[in-house]
Symmetry: C2
Subunit: 292 residues, 2 copies
Amino acid sequence: MKNNSSSLGKVYLVGAGPGAVDLITVRGAKLLAKADIVFHDALVDSEILSLCPQAEHVAVGKRCGKLSCAQHFINKRLVDAAQKHQVIVRLKGGDPMLFGRADEEITALKQAGIELEVVPGITAALAGAASLQQSLTLRGVSRSVAFITLAQGTENTNQSKADESQPGNNQTINPIINPITNPNADTLVYYMGRKDAAQIARQLIQQNQPHQATTPVHILEAVSTPKERLWSSTLQELADGKADDWFDSSSPALIMIGAALSHSSENLKSSNPEIHNSLQDCQILANSRRHA
Amino acid sequence: MKNNSSSLGKVYLVGAGPGAVDLITVRGAKLLAKADIVFHDALVDSEILSLCPQAEHVAVGKRCGKLSCAQHFINKRLVDAAQKHQVIVRLKGGDPMLFGRADEEITALKQAGIELEVVPGITAALAGAASLQQSLTLRGVSRSVAFITLAQGTENTNQSKADESQPGNNQTINPIINPITNPNADTLVYYMGRKDAAQIARQLIQQNQPHQATTPVHILEAVSTPKERLWSSTLQELADGKADDWFDSSSPALIMIGAALSHSSENLKSSNPEIHNSLQDCQILANSRRHA
């Protein structure tokens, strides 16, 4: 490996944002437009690659839980690319520093003496709050929001099997969800929590602080894309498994929980879950609600 | 007020991002470029207004804790603007739905029958993690991150006086920081916590879970701007008031706490706080560390 870092390329870890192509940052878009090569992962929508037609596109798709050699292989490819190219973009869904496992790539690049820069991206929770037109924090109601993943992240977990399990299966206590490690914040946003949603809700109700059976819940799938879908109800309905059949396992889902998300009270007066597609603005929200 | 919403303009609540002009989203930049009028608050850097030279610029600067009539006045101006203009942008620092008090403006606009859309922005914590090149979550270390403000948000709190208080003053127990309401997450990022930093650190050490005296702390001021500054140490040093004299009260500061932020262990082997200016990339991080 060359030690002269001036002859090496620079690697940019760029957050692609939640899905919509125009929710990438201006800085990220400019870097894509001048990239020699772009390594993108599975959560990045192919439309965003239209921002870098000049670049070589390399899919390094990897979902959490697959074999660790996948990550080692990505690290090696990034280091190798810096020997051959000047502008290397590693494009990650959402924000690179939040559930992005960027640390492993950063460590590998630093060890190889390769210059790098991280460009933040809109994380799904913020795009979800924008779609809902609901603040995650609210004066007098919520001073904190926690973003959580229950993904184990160990390489030997059988995630793909678990993803295929039937809704009823999560009655079994899953050892990866320890109630003690549930974060405590006024608003909670779970990433990648689909298969454990009912169990999370039961635990939160049992903990009784600050979330209760009547606390509003919104589940958003495919945030910011044309496939965006919303399920809105309460923590009790979620605990009762009412959302289990609604999930579409092909899309990432966010579970948003908290009193701040009450969606101006009249919207939650019914205990029936409410389902919406393609939230775009408040007119659509107000006028085209469809009941399940 | 006109009831025919088709003749009314549309209001876009746009996140300006953390400060750097190119960390706004592409969508946000395009909306600024076609805006008729832009209402921007105090935390928005003036440089970003260069993206909307054609628009009328209206400063509605308001820091948390000022009189509530300021918010009512902003609400009214937004509603009025929709009678006269077609594209109205309300530009907020960071993300509108996180500590942005957007809910009050959204409610006022909905009540007036005005169409609105929220465009998310890069929140300071994610820009801070990008500058540090440190993931907020880390496999096997951190599965959750909480963003917290201690700002009271009631209108009669004497925030401006408190901001001017001397560092030593926060030995007094401040009633707004109730230990019980401290969120619990693997990584914590406090917004607007400058004057309470030492007290927060003492409480976290006392709580003993999951944060300890040796837990890494990074304080970032003016994230993503040329004035960016970093103070790095441990929770114990923060509790001992070692950061108190370092803060520059004219810049917003983020306090980032958690084992995930260990900055590859060798960087924290000294207990001396480390101070850096203008983090740009890992080369600078590695080569130009200056000790306090």
